[in-house]
């Protein structure tokens, strides 16, 4: 049974490797893009590494839900998520902490939802569903 701390530690190590950063640069609340400097190509690399590290499969849409890439004006208007869009996002990203984002749900700030902790919670859920945690 992998505890959240164990998963968090392995996720942090994976991110350190993928992003070539020092261990002391990373903490559970670090955002992948803002704090750790991840670029879009790094997200794919991170997914690959997590799959290898934890022996799980991560379909792209599970970590990056369709609502996050929408061009539907009912969900995203003038660069901001509508209440309906926000609800869709929350449904698609149940492991993200929306408390700050929902105050001003600009699409440009979406990447701030991807924190080390969020990734760890996502992985732990995958492990639990696979009977590995």
């Amino acid at each position: 049974m992998a505890s959240h701390e164990e998963v968090l530690s392995k996720v942090s190590s994976t991110l350190v490797e993928a992003l070539n950063i020092d261990e002391d640069e990373i903490n559970p609340e670090s955002t992948l893009t803002g704090d750790l400097g991840a670029e879009s190509i790094d997200f794919l690399d991170i997914v690959f590494r997590l799959e290898r590290e934890f022996g799980i499969k991560i379909p792209r849409e599970e970590l990056f839900p369709e609502a996050a890439q929408t061009s539907d004006v009912e969900l995203l208007k003038d660069g901001k998520y509508t209440p309906k869009g926000l609800a869709e996002l929350k449904k698609g990203m149940p492991f993200a902490d929306f408390s700050e984002f929902e105050k001003n749900p600009e699409a440009s700030q979406l990447t701030n939802l991807f924190t080390v902790n969020m990734i760890a919670r996502f992985v732990q859920d995958k492990l639990a569903k696979a009977g590995k945690a």
Partner: protein, 163 residues
């Protein structure tokens, strides 16, 4: 402009590994500048050769349905410089492949001795960037690269005499 930085394949095991060769010839223009009177193969072009070896391995694994592009090189190290007259062997293994891309580990060998290593990440553009439009001209899987692949397939089974 010719942008093929391997001379050919020596071994090719579909979906798993490939070994290519690059002879460092003084006929190549870049040695005039890199450096005058001190011809050294630019490390970036060695990485390009490793990436082309791995890229064609990743592309062939999916029968070239995807556009394979070099995403990033996470780590690379070389133990020394490589100069005109040397023969480099690039050994690349596919570590992970899935619909959105692939990762590969590559080695540079000279006379059987590992003199460099790199970790290479490829993205499959059609999967990872499906909403963007790119022309064929952006990619290295041109006729010339296909020709090398045919060579690779002919190389097929490992040939100990060429190692």
């Amino acid at each position: 402009m010719r942008w093929i930085w391997i001379d050919g394949f020596l071994e090719f095991e579909s979906g798993k590994r490939a070994r290519s060769v690059k002879n460092l010839s003084s006929a190549e223009d870049h040695y005039a500048q890199h450096f005058p009177d001190y011809p050294v193969m630019p490390a970036a072009l060695i990485l390009e050769g490793l990436a082309q070896t791995g890229g064609i391995l990743a592309g062939e694994a999916n029968q070239f349905r995807e556009k394979v592009v070099l995403g990033k090189i996470n780590k690379a190290s070389f133990s020394r410089e490589f100069t005109v007259g040397e023969t480099l062997h690039y050994e690349v293994e596919l570590v992970h492949i899935r619909p959105e891309g692939a990762t590969a580990s590559g080695k540079v060998l000279v006379n059987g001795i590992c003199e460099g290593e790199a970790e290479i990440f490829f993205a499959h553009l059609d999967q990872a960037r499906s909403r963007q439009a790119f022309g064929e001209g952006n990619f290295v899987f041109t006729g010339e690269m296909r020709h090398l692949l045919d060579q690779a397939k002919r190389a097929g089974a490992p040939k100990p005499s060429q190692s």
